[in-house]
Every structure is written in structure tokens, then in C-alpha cells.
Amino acid sequence: MARLHRVSIYSTILILIYLLVLFEVLPIPLIDASVAQEILPVIPWWILVSFGSYSLWCLGWGVFTFRDCPEAYHELLQEINEAKTDLRSRAVTVD
């Protein structure tokens, strides 16, 4: 629960700051006011698009770095063969 508390407190503070700046209660020091008023309404949509592209990146990275595990494949084939010969020696029909 500690992590959830931390995340919710941070997000509440950030949303509060965003709303205050959006309704021109707080000023932004370094940027032109008109430019800031153009950028601010877009920020939630930008967060959504960034989240989507980050998810796509994570999926793509997972697919890109997925290993075929050839050693496990050969080891498994060998174990299958051993099991088959063992069963055949005990008079079990295999394949």
C-alpha cells in the first residue's frame, strides 16, 4: 500500500498544479503566457499518446529480444528420445 499512497499523492499534486496553471491561477515563469495557454490543454492527450507509444515500445522490445533457446530445444529433444527408448525397453509401444 505504500507505493499506491506515494503514486496517488504525487499524481494528486501534479494534477492540482496542472489545473491551477490551466485556469491561470499560477503563472509559469519562463514561457510566454499565450504559448503556455496553447500548450496546456494538449498535455493530457500528450500523456495518453506517450503512454500508448511507451506500451508499444515495451511490446516491441520484448518481441525483438525474444530468444529461441536452442540449447533448451536440443536438451528437450534428447530427453524425449531417452524417454522413448526407455519406454520401448519396458515393452510400451511408442510412436
Binding site: V35, W46, V49, S50, G52, Y54, L56, G60, W61, D68
Partner: protein, 88 residues
């Protein structure tokens, strides 16, 4: 198996990176440029920077809702059929 995996993963990575940089430039960096600067020719009008993700969000949510709803309806129909078979 490995090569097609890598190419698909690579395509996804490139698409994600491109979408992120294009949208960030469009939504956040463009207002800093003068209205007469040539960079504006590479991007559509800025209302679309809000309409596109809003549209995608609505379509995505409706798709999810439709899928969940149809699954629930199918399960209820199966349950009703089973109850009928048992009663009959």
C-alpha cells in the same frame, strides 16, 4: 522464427518512437515557433492534435466495451441453455 520476430519487434519499436517524437513536436514544440516559420508545413492544423487521440481513445474504449459485452451475453446464453437442458 528469429528473423521474423526481430523484424516485427523492430517495426513496433520504430513506430512507437516515430509516433512519440512526431506527436511531441506537434503538440508541445510547435507553439514556440513563429506562425510564419516553415516547420508548420510538416504538421496538420493543431486541432487535429487533440481530435486524433480523442478519436482513438473513443474507438479503443468502445472496442473493449463491445468485446466485454458480447462475451457476457454469450456466457449468459450458454448458462441459460444449460439450465434449460437440466430442467428438461
Amino acid at each position: 522464427m528469429g528473423a521474423s520476430d526481430k523484424s516485427l519487434g523492430g517495426v513496433m519499436l520504430l513506430v512507437a518512437g516515430f509516433v512519440f517524437t512526431y506527436y511531441t513536436t506537434w503538440a508541445i514544440l510547435l507553439p514556440f515557433f513563429d506562425a510564419s516559420s516553415p516547420i508548420h508545413n510538416y504538421f496538420p492544423a493543431r486541432e487535429w492534435a487533440i481530435r486524433l487521440p480523442a478519436f482513438v481513445l473513443v474507438v479503443g474504449l468502445s472496442g473493449i466495451g463491445f468485446f466485454v459485452g458480447s462475451t457476457i451475453i454469450k456466457e449468459n446464453r450458454k448458462k441459460a441453455q444449460k439450465a434449460k437442458l437440466r430442467a428438461a
